[in-house]
């Protein structure tokens, strides 16, 4: 057989059939490409580079090259240990930071923390810039606080930090607003200059963070106990994803090739998902994300089968040859087998509603852009399938939700990378590339066949922030 195949291959490969060249060329000539037709490729690349450039422009600060890397120090939490008199309510100064002299090559910038309020014990200093690392300062234990900076020269040149506090009260205590300037370098001349030029050069003065002071349980005699807390915001992410999916059957306990038949007959199609999620911050970089997600995997079944049927038709039943050598065909009924090749096309849809629990890690933060990686498990709340599969008898077996032979495992996996662009304080644009994996079990004739579904999808969404 191999030798015969070689002869066929050699003969067929070398064989040429005549064709009217002139007629063929006349039809082909208009389709001959020219160099000008390559322009779309050029424009495609140009558009691609422009997109990358624009993205880089957005991620890197687009406003000014002179903008300092250290943008702000934020006092976000002040807690009072003891009670203070009501009379202090209009005279609460802010904690002050003073820079300590240090070696120029030291990459940390140290501050002394001084508080004019004896009762205030905790200051949380948080930077909005990626160049500074946030830290809590317990005033009862620490007197020195280090801000780590990427570029020592930037913090070294910094002369002034404005800290804005907004006091919010409950009951009869009136809110208080104050604006406080902290001198880092103790350079009075520079401060004066800065104050004069503050309106013109806001870029060199740090932006103003907010602090909420909440007066609770205000008694009539004692001063109210002050609990200062950062305003708690809730976030909700609405997202929609489309992607490609992959399905794989596996039946290790079966000796026949049913899984091969299933794998060759069923091809994966698109994956759709829509969901809502919320993030809970554990630290500045670690988050837990949970929510609800609806997913749909689609597959396409192409099934081909041969049907054999016996037919009778007229044909040559006998050949008579007379003495002169002339042949005469005798026509009569001839039975034969008719083979009909039938090709069927069908779709299967696997639906599920999942509760994902993911750990997210902030790997990059630049201006208003954040880049996360995340991963975790999905708890299956509900799943259902409709469609069909090719059974052991090589027949397409169709089913609906009620007769579905598929059962979903209770746990799935998902993970990916996402980018968030904080367009405003109340919302952020979300884009993510996510991988999802789920497993199903197909029960057929007391056999269990595992079906593994996976998908890679592009998700787009919007995260809203609001205070309840």
């Amino acid at each position: 057989m191999v030798e015969q195949d070689k002869i066929f291959k050699k003969t067929a490969s070398e064989h040429e059939s005549p064709i009217d060249f002139e007629s063929l060329w006349n039809q082909l000539e208009p389709h001959v490409p020219s160099k000008t037709k390559r322009r779309p490729i050029f424009w495609f690349w140009l558009a691609g580079f422009a997109f990358i450039g624009f993205s880089a422009y957005l991620i890197i600060d687009p406003k000014s090259p002179t903008k300092p890397k250290v943008k702000s120090l934020e006092v976000v939490n002040i807690k009072q240990n003891d009670q203070i008199a009501n009379t202090l309510k209009n005279d609460i100064p802010d904690p002050k930071l003073e820079q300590i002299k240090q070696h120029p090559k030291d990459k940390k910038t140290y501050f002394n923390v001084r508080t004019p309020i004896n009762n205030v014990s905790l200051v949380k200093v948080k930077s909005k810039s990626a160049d500074l690392i946030s830290k809590d300062i317990d005033l009862t234990k620490e007197t020195k606080y280090a801000l780590e900076t990427v570029d020592q020269s930037e913090i070294g040149n910094l002369n002034k930090i404005n800290i804005h506090t907004e006091l919010k009260s409950i009951g009869d205590v009136a809110p208080l607003n104050s604006l406080n300037s902290i001198n880092i370098n103790n350079d009075e001349e520079k401060i004066k200059d800065l104050i004069h030029t503050e309106a013109k050069s806001q870029e060199t003065i740090l932006s103003l963070p907010n602090v909420n002071f909440v007066f609770l349980n205000a008694p009539s005699f004692f001063a109210p106990k002050i609990i200062v807390s950062k305003r708690k915001k809730i976030n909700l992410l609405f997202r929609l994803g489309v992607g490609i999916s992959n399905n794989k059957f596996h039946a290790p306990q079966l000796e026949n090739d049913l899984d091969i038949l299933l794998n060759t007959s069923e091809k994966s199609l698109e994956y759709l998902t829509i969901g809502i999620a919320t993030d809970f911050a554990i630290t500045n970089k670690w988050y837990i994300q949970t929510g609800l997600k609806y997913s749909r995997y689609s597959t396409h079944i192409i099934h081909e089968s041969n049907n054999f049927s016996l037919i009778t038709k007229n044909g040559v039943t006998e050949i008579n040859i007379n003495p002169e050598g002339e042949a005469t065909n005798i026509i009569g009924a001839v039975s034969s087998t008719k083979v009909t090749n039938k090709r069927s096309s069908w779709h299967t849809y696997h639906h599920s509603i999942d509760l994902p629990i993911n750990i997210r890690y902030l790997i990059l933060k630049a201006n208003r852009h954040k880049l996360f990686i995340d991963g975790g498990v999905m708890l299956k709340c509900w799943s259902g399938s409709q469609g069909g599969f090719v059974n052991q008898s090589n027949h397409l077996q169709k089913f609906d939700f009620s007769s579905s032979p598929y059962n979903s495992l209770k746990l799935g996996l998902n993970g990916g990378m996402s980018w968030e662009w904080h367009l405003r304080s109340t919302g952020a644009f979300y884009a993510g590339l996510m991988y999802d994996k789920s497993d199903l079990r197909l029960t057929y004739n007391n056999n269990i066949i595992n079906k593994s579904l996976s998908s890679l999808s592009m998700n787009l969404g919007y995260r809203i922030f609001f205070t309840p």
Binding site: M1, E3, Q4, D5, K6, I7, F8, K9, T11, A12, S13, H15, E16, S17, P18, I19, F21, L24, W25, Q27, L28, E29, H31, V32, P33, S34, K35, D257, I260, L261, T264, S265, I302, E304, G315, V316, V334, S335, S336, T337, K338, V339, T340, N341, K342, R343
Partner: protein, 177 residues
Amino acid sequence: MTETDIIQKCKAYDKTAFKELVKVYSPALMSVCMRYIGDRHEAEDMVQESFIRIFNNILKYQETGSFKSWLCRIAATTCLKEIRKKHLILDVDINEYEELASEDFIMLTDEAGIIKIIEEIPLPYRLVFNLYVIEGYTHQEIAEMMGVGESTSRSQLSRARKMIQALFIKYKVQLTA
């Protein structure tokens, strides 16, 4: 113009090179299309379609394998695409071919006989036979290309071989290496 010249000039979008390409390789591509399609008029359309695809993809040819094989593969996949597009429902009478084996009318030369035999194999079996034996695809690849199972591909190749044996007897073809 040598094969290398044709390739290089086609990649530079030289019109005369494209004309030379068509002139040199159109008989080979016609042979491929005839093997797949069977009908001469449709095969000519497939040759034209194949050359348009070749023109548009000439830059993708890496010059690592045989250029003629690359062209023939494009022609084969073009034919296959056309056959699939038509969703041909195949009706094959196997016994008819078995009956033919008992008749004794024609004597052909080896090459002509082989080509005629290939063209006489019913369509689904001819497709698998061409793809597996002539083009050298695996059953897995054929299954993916034709949208059928691997087992279907194997069974159709087996049937094609049986028919060929019957047609050998009919046409008294003697294979010589």
